[in-house]
Every structure is written in structure tokens, then in C-alpha cells.
Symmetry: C2
């Protein structure tokens, strides 16, 4: 499938959360329809998609029927089980490709890949036993963070180590799973680049945004980032390097630390990314449409920024602010989730702060 999928084609999306939902809305603008696959019934994306399969990741029959019903498959989260992907890929192409997915699924593989690209990453060491954790702590020092190589669905599996004597507790916190010990990176800012690469190798990046987190969850992304142009250009160029090295097709989100010694790559997500939501209001073509265009073999769209934007996530009880936010003049996005649990992303707000 090297030609552009014509309007009327069907995109299969693994995962039906807010990212799948906004992909489906973008696909609809281009006359493409979406089929969601999600183990949970009635996921947010299903409300705006032409079809939805509710089945487990182990349901071979459902996976194969899903694959046959669509023209191309993409995903809204990177932890889709490998066996499920194998079944689907035997029938339809998966974009971004398996290598991008496999690389991002394993922190150690990811760091090795980024270093192979000539990019700076945090000092780190592989840890597969309690003994190796001791050796790694001697090499990397403290403060450092022990992280499981693979993420569970709940995003847990991290332990901060400020004192080598607390190594046992950290090893317990990751349940003895294969892990990476990462040295603490002193950074002044976190920047992310939302990049895209087409089937033909065309690359386009949105302007980098600066991120602010609270309690480990993205709170705001601001563009322009207010950082030196040379640094932002570096950020865009290294994103292009990653995209090309992976022979990537689709949108990627690359998170970078701005340190006194230059940019350090934190990680990348092989999908549309929360820090790219501002593009819905700041650009003629948003990250979701850009992803749809790329995976369907269409030319990439114009991601030029026409406005300065601050994106703010609405998390948990933030949703109670909706009446006030609706009246604030900002562009409001709600994900159609019925229950506002603490830490749950319920929506976001894009506020134009001026012309670009």
C-alpha cells in the first residue's frame, strides 16, 4: 500500500481514548472513517467513529476481523501487546511501524537507539537484578530514578532513589522487573516537538512547545516556547533525525530536557501527543490531521503556526471549571468521559494569546 488511501477508506485505531477520539474527528474532516478497537465498552472515540469493536487484546478472531474491516491500522497508545500486533500486521499495515513501537516500548532499547542517532540521553544503566542495581547505583550515583523497562497500563513502576541505602525499597517498588536506573538530569525546561513523516519521507514539525507538569502529569504546553531559536532549531532537527532513523510514518512526540549542556532526549511517543493539542487552535492543520494524512499516504499538511497558544489540561475535578472556561473565550475540548476520577484527563483548553 504505497498509494494514498482515497476518501471513504477506513482507519483502524487501537485504543479508543481521547487521542483516538480526536484522530477520528480529524479523519472525518478528510472524508475518512474510523473503526475503533478497545477492550473497554463504549470508549470515548466510539461516539464519533463509524464502527467500534469491543474485544480483548487476546481475541484472535476479533483482531483479525477488525484488521480485515479496515485499510490501515494505527494506535493511540504504545503498549499494545505484541501478539495482537502480529495478528493484525499479517493482514494490514500498521503505522507507525513496529520498530518505532518496539523501540519506544522498552526504555533501554529506546535509549540505545537515541544514542545510536548521536543524541544525548540521561546517564543510565540496565538493571535486571538486585545486584545489578547496586552496581548501577555506584556508576550513576544519586539522586537517580529506577524505572521498569516496559510500562504497565497504569503508568506505574518508578522509584526515586535519593540514598543508596534505600535501594531495597526501590527494587521492591518495581517488583524486581527488568529496569533502567536513570541519573537525575538537571534541566531548566522541558520542551516537546511534535513531528510528522509521510510515506514518501517528507518531514514536517510543529513549533516546539514548553511543558509544565504537576504531580507527574502534563499541566500546560505553551507556544512559542520562549527559548533561544538555535535551541528550538536543534530540537526540530533531532526530531527529523529520529523520524528518518525509524523510517517512521505518522506523528511522533519527542520530549526533551533543556540543560546547560544542551538538549537531552527524555523519551518519544510513537503517536499523537498531549503536548501537541495546542495545534488544534494554533495551526490550520493540527497534529491529529497530520497523523491521519501521514498514515493514509497523503501529503503532509501545512503545520505553520498562525497564533500563540497556551494549552491547559483539564484533569479530574478540573472539569468542574467547564462553565467558567466555556465563557472564557478559549477553545474547549472535552473527551466525552462520564466519570471524573482524580488524575483522569477529562479535556483541555486552548487559549490564543496573540498572533504568531
Amino acid at each position: 500500500m504505497n498509494e494514498a488511501l482515497p476518501p471513504g477508506s477506513v482507519i483502524g485505531i487501537l485504543g479508543g481514548g481521547q487521542l483516538g477520539r480526536m484522530l477520528a474527528l480529524a479523519a472525518a474532516r478528510l472524508g475518512l472513517s474510523c473503526h475503533i478497537y478497545d477492550p473497554a465498552p463504549a470508549p470515548p472515540a466510539a461516539q464519533v467513529a463509524a464502527a467500534c469493536t469491543t474485544a480483548d487484546w487476546e481475541d484472535a478472531e476479533a483482531l483479525e476481523a477488525f484488521a480485515r474491516a479496515v485499510d490501515v491500522v494505527t494506535y493511540e497508545f504504545e503498549n499494545v501487546p505484541t501478539a495482537a500486533l502480529d495478528r493484525i500486521e499479517a493482514i494490514r499495515p500498521i503505522r507507525p511501524n513496529r520498530r518505532a513501537l518496539a523501540t519506544s516500548q522498552d526504555r533501554l532499547t529506546e535509549k540505545a537507539f537515541l544514542e545510536d542517532c548521536g543524541l544525548a540521553v540521561a546517564p543510565h544503566a540496565a538493571v535486571s537484578s538486585r545486584d545489578e542495581l547496586g552496581a548501577a547505583l555506584e556508576e550513576i550515583g544519586t539522586p537517580s530514578i529506577l524505572k521498569t523497562r516496559r510500562l504497565g497500563y497504569d503508568g506505574k513502576g518508578q522509584a526515586r532513589i535519593t540514598d543508596p541505602a534505600r535501594a531495597d525499597a526501590a527494587w521492591e517498588a518495581v517488583s524486581g522487573a527488568p529496569s533502567v536506573l536513570e541519573g537525575f538530569v538537571e534541566f531548566g525546561a522541558e520542551v516537546s516537538v511534535i513531528g510528522a513523516r509521510g510515506v514518501d519521507g517528507q518531514v514536517a514539525c510543529f513549533d516546539p512547545g514548553v511543558n509544565r507538569h504537576e504531580d507527574g502529569i502534563l499541566r500546560t504546553t505553551t507556544v512559542p516556547a520562549g527559548l533561544p531559536v538555535a535551541l528550538l532549531t536543534d530540537a526540530v532537527l533531532l526530531t527529523g533525525k529520529v523520524l528518518n532513523a525509524l523510517d517512521y510514518v505518522g506523528v511522533i512526540g519527542v520530549e526533551l530536557f533543556v540543560t546547560p549542556g544542551g538538549l537531552v532526549v527524555n523519551e518519544f511517543a510513537p503517536r499523537v501527543h498531549n503536548s501537541g493539542h495546542w495545534t488544534q487552535t494554533g495551526c490550520a492543520i493540527c497534529q491529529f490531521e497530520q497523523h491521519v494524512r501521514a498514515i493514509c499516504g497523503w501529503p503532509l499538511g501545512d503545520g505553520a503556526r498562525h497564533s500563540d497558544v497556551v494549552m491547559e489540561n483539564l484533569i479530574g475535578a478540573d472539569v468542574d471549571r467547564v462553565p467558567e472556561l466555556a465563557a472564557s473565550g478559549a477553545a474547549l475540548h472535552l473527551y466525552g468521559k462520564a466519570e471524573a476520577r482524580p488524575g483522569r484527563k477529562m479535556g483541555h483548553v486552548n487559549r490564543i494569546t496573540g498572533p504568531a
Copy 2:
């Protein structure tokens, strides 16, 4: 229902064409879902709506079940049969209200209403018989246009009269239906204003755009309109007058002729309007979201224009230009229609031409 409908509420939309589709996409952004009612199976809007009823306008049971399944009802075209509206309104509010709909459904009522508002309309006379046509021609003169008071679903029922001797042919062309003879208005430009009014009476208008037609179908809308500011201000003010006079809730499209003597109102459509599609790319809040906000009792959004835009309709075989347009850097919108018949609106393109 004077309070704002909370996220999760359901909007019923009468008609499932492209306007209904784009309303459903805008509603989804706000966490609202849509239920489409359309006599035709699988209409474009159904692909992105949570529910769709396929039933005739005469199907009382289906209409009542639809009304009970939703929280508020709106429409994407103004020729919904009155009896259907009566059944629905007994159960749920219809917005914009019945008076707006009734006024716009009948050209004579519409002109009388506009004149009552103190606005200029084309010279015209009621024609309900062949004899009255003769008298009207003496009063209005030629060239003039005989138009049926009510539109059929096919948008036909017009005859241009350049010579009073051809009156018989014109009378036949409108099948002897109650009609209006309109004098020809010499105009330099056609402008339209997309206005909105909330449940609380708040009024907001988008910047007026200038329209170009080909073969009686809108071809392009351009903003800014490139006309004197005083004239555009008048256009916005008179739209506000119409909205208030009708106690209107929702988005309206008002078409105006720019004549040497000032603005003449051609007609208004009590719904989102093709000439407002540019707002999807030129404003943070588009006409579709503005309509959804209004009919759901939400505050109106910020319709300020951040960019200059040219909107071009894709009609019939224009859809063959999609590959080229997709690569043009413009924002493409396709309506999910399978068959490209001549004159059929298949999509549109919004091109940013500069900062506002």
C-alpha cells in the same frame, strides 16, 4: 430548559447532510453527542454521530422516539415539514425557534418581516394567480424573478422574466404555486454575515465575507470582504437586529446585496451557512461550535478572526482535485459522500491567505 445542557447531553439534528455532520463534529469537541434524523439511509452526518434514526418526516412514532431520546433539537435545513416540527416540539425545544423557521420558509413572510425591521429588501409583489402576475409585472417591471414562496427540497421553482410577454412560461415554470415577483437588484457584491445569539440574548457575529457564485451555487467566500468598514458594520448591526427581532437562539446566515443605495437583504437562513465555513480555519471557535453553544444554552465562543481566509466549495467533479488540494497546504474538508453528482457539494477548502 434555560440552563446550559451539561457535557454528555444529546443534540437532535434534523437532516444528516454536511451541515449536520460538521455540527456533530463541533458538538463532539464539547463532549456533547448527536442523534441524526434523516429519511435517507446512512447520511454523511451519521458517520460521526452517536445515533441515527432513518425514518420519514411523516413517521409520528419515529419522530416522537427521536425527540424523547435527545435534549434539544436543531436542524440543518429550513424545509422540515411543519407537522414533523409540531410533533417534536410537543416533547423537546426546537432551536432556532419556530418563528425563525416559519419566517424563512416563506419568501413573502420573510420580506415582510425584514421590512418590519426597517431593512431594505428587493422590490417585490405577491403572486397567487396568473392575473396577479400580470399586475405584479406592471408594478415591478422587468428584468425580474418569479420565485415560489416556499422552496421544494430540490431548490427549484424560479423563473427569470426579461420580457412581460414571457409571463406565461414563467407561471408554468413555478407550476402556478403561490409566488413572489422580485425586482432585479443591481448589486456590486454579495456579502454574508454569520451571526449567533445565545439563550441569554448575547449576540456575536463573525466578520462578514464576500461571496462569489457560479451557476447559482456558492463558489467562494473571502474574508476580509475588502469593502468599506462602515458598510460591514452596518451588515453586522442589521444581523443583530434580525436576531433580536426573532428572539433567535443559534447561528443565522444573512445574505446581503451591496448596492449603490446601501445594503439590501436578500434572505436569511436559520442555520449554519455555507458562507460561514471559513470560520473553521479563520477563528478559534467556528460557526458550527457557535451554533452548538447557543442551542445548548452555553455562552457564545470567541469568534474573533485570527487569519484571512478564502473558502472554496468543491462541487461535483471538483472532488477529483482532492489529491492536488491535499498537497496545497490548505485545510481540506470532505463530507463523506460516496457519489459526486454534478452540482453536489462534496467538500470545501479553506486557504489561509495571511494574518488578520
